[in-house]
Symmetry: C2
Subunit: 427 residues, 2 copies
């Protein structure tokens, strides 16, 4: 039995997109709490589209089942399997919203018009055709969309957008519907100056630029998927990261021009999900690096940091980081080519961590990198690799040093809750 | 990593459709056994399409979750939820087949071209457009299709075909692909003269006509969904019901003309899933029954047996049976109309069972019904309702009498394993 559709919301009513992660819908009670939140937003006069992830550990459980039947499950089949989790969550959430007397409809990524390329496991959204979703909103319904998934334009196969892909689903739907806000409901209160589990006095940020959020997310801050931030920046989506457990304001991600003043440093991110690969004794001649990284790109392995030192005696070492889950594939790909390119050895070190300092004010305040390296040295942390952008300094350190390193840098730049950071933009 | 496609099977290679029920894929080990069976059939030179149900109790678990969030979950959302079970099973099965070195692809009902009407929960297949499936078979792949589901032509929504719907998916795919055989792999060895749990000496039938199978399935034999038999008869699909646990021959369902000789009686079916509804004291005038049953049909409630007695004093009673799950809806629908049609009362009895005797030879052997009623009477079983077709006699009895009734009838017609039934068609 469907609840009778409410009077259609005026097409001038604000469109609010809300994303709820797996923890927020971890069990039936939490799912019902999310349903109440959605119904309240609808009753407050908004047109609501909610994007939902799989409940709790569903995705991990499904990955475990796949591993039990096939050590290397075909990616196409894995994508079909994993998207079941969001289907279950979305239909249950629609039922829970209907139980509150608010008409609701759920749509898979494909039904909602999330069109992607055909790269299974980490597909990119290439188009959004939200006609069915728009019709349902016009009928006065709450719309629930399965996160993390889409359909390939070329193969018509189901694809997934990678870990955290539901964020990107939400931002893409918000862009396509010209939503007033895209709320990312999560299990923390917003974006912090550092991971509060490592740095207990980390401070919640009221406001961040897209560029800063992009760097923080790319360098390991798990609060938002990188692509969702890119999508938001490119389409001017207002993103609000907030807790799904209370009503307080979280962190707004806004265009650079909306920042009142730049903070020198916005936060410290860390990432323990990568491994370091070093190709030792590479002949120092043109084309070697290109050959290496073209091969990795061809296998769609995400290479992150790349460092090449000056050569000695015509040879150099090239180091780079890749996701730990892809390091075996990288090794298998490169090992047979060592002879061909004249390299001496291939060394893999999975026990590394990356610590990054991000802040838009860095551009106009020289000496930030030097202060960071000094602080790490004083804390006894050895730096293995360095890479920088205009608003970021990243270092690779030993895995075991990560907490010490994050705290040392956080302290050095006085990011703690009770510190006054003169340049921090007003909330 | 996908296994490399094998050399395409010759397009003249036999097409074998296999259906595996939820028990056959109840856990990872059983799923792997099914994968081996599929791979063996492929390696024997066949083109194989396997239809799979949800693993074990998945569907019941999902129904339970739905009930926890909404006492009356919207059917559209329930269908989306339930189809997740087959998606999980189909992708895991494809992975398991690939792990054996045989290339495989899984397809949802929608992807396999199962087009239905929009009646959620018990949709009917209106067309099959199996181009993607045919392409995959032509590429030399095993094809795995999710049973029980399709997509509505009108609403583009996901639909389900009702309990046992995977049988119909299999027969429909077999018809669309002009398959050489449609094997229904199940947890019993074939179709029996009665349920072996009630009648331990029941005998496996080697061969049955579509008409007999249709009557047996319609009267409660759970081995095949009724619609699958209809579909098979209408499209000339050879159906082989066999055990998924061993390689022995099961029961073939064949056209009447392929039966060497008709058995008087093929088997006894029973059904405890229905409830009896009696509308008491109905005025005996035209249009009353039409009004009653049009209302029930409008709500897509499946009315099975209908009995109306001769009237006395211008009034009569109309009794009918409906699925127990729909009896509350039937009561809610009819109760407010009693006054309007001038009836006196509405009585519902859920504690009934239907016992049916089926056999194509009945047409030419009079007296079968009389023998059945005598046997029941001798066993002390009271008959509440009677209905017959040319090849079937059904009675409604008290739920508590069902085992006694089935055994009495089975014995009367000497259907047991060691009995010689002269008219039984050769296997």
């Amino acid at each position: 039995m469907s609840a009778a559709p409410a009077a259609p919301a005026a097409s001038s009513a604000p469109v609010v997109v809300q994303k709820y992660g797996g923890t927020s819908v971890g069990d039936v009670e939490r799912l019902q709490r999310v349903a109440r939140r959605i119904a309240d937003t609808h009753r407050a006069g908004n047109r609501v589209l909610a994007v939902v992830s799989a409940m709790g550990d569903t995705t991990d459980d499904l990955v475990g089942m796949a591993a039990a039947v096939n050590g290397r499950p075909p990616q196409r089949e894995l994508d079909i399997l994993l998207t079941s989790g969001e289907r279950i969550a979305m239909s249950l959430l629609a039922m829970a919203v209907e139980a509150l007397g608010v008409p609701a409809r759920s749509f898979t990524g494909s039904q909602a018009g999330i069109i992607t390329d055909a790269v299974h496991g980490k597909a990119r959204i290439v188009d959004v055709t939200p006609q069915r979703v728009r019709d349902a909103l016009d009928e006065g319904r709450v719309v629930i969309v399965a996160g993390f998934q889409g359909v390939s334009r070329d193969t018509k196969d189901i694809t997934t957008l990678g870990r955290g892909g539901s964020d990107t689903t939400a931002v893409a739907m918000a862009a396509a519907l010209d939503a007033d806000v895209c709320e990312i409901h999560t299990d923390v209160d917003g974006v912090y100056t550092a991971d509060p589990r490592l740095v207990p006095d980390a401070r919640k940020l009221d406001r961040l630029s897209f560029e800063e959020m992009l760097e923080l997310a790319a360098q390991g801050a798990k609060v938002l998927q990188v692509r969702s931030v890119e999508f938001g920046r490119n389409h001017g989506v207002r993103i609000h990261v907030r807790s799904s457990f209370n009503g307080s304001e979280g962190t707004w991600i806004v265009p650079q021009e909306d920042m009142v003043e730049d903070a020198i440093i916005s936060g410290v991110a860390h990432d323990t999900s990568e491994a370091k690969v070093t190709v030792v004794g590479v002949p120092d001649r043109p084309g070697v690096a290109a050959g290496l990284f073209s091969a990795l790109a061809g296998a769609t392995i995400n290479v992150d940091m790349i460092v090449q030192n000056v050569s000695s005696a015509g040879r150099t070492d090239i180091s780079f980081t890749v996701p730990r889950g892809e390091v075996d594939e990288a090794r298998e790909l490169l090992a047979p080519r060592l002879g061909e390119i004249g390299a001496e050895d291939l060394v893999v070190d999975p026990a590394v961590a990356k610590v990054s300092l991000v802040g838009a004010g860095m551009k106009t305040h020289p000496g930030v990198a030097a202060r960071m390296f000094t602080a790490l040295s004083a804390a006894g942390v050895n730096i293995q690799m360095i890479s920088t952008s205009t608003i970021r300094v990243s270092v690779v350190v030993a895995d075991a040093d990560v907490a010490t390193a994050v705290r040392a840098v956080h302290d050095e730049f006085a990011l703690a809750g009770d510190a006054v950071v003169a340049e921090q933009g007003a909330g």
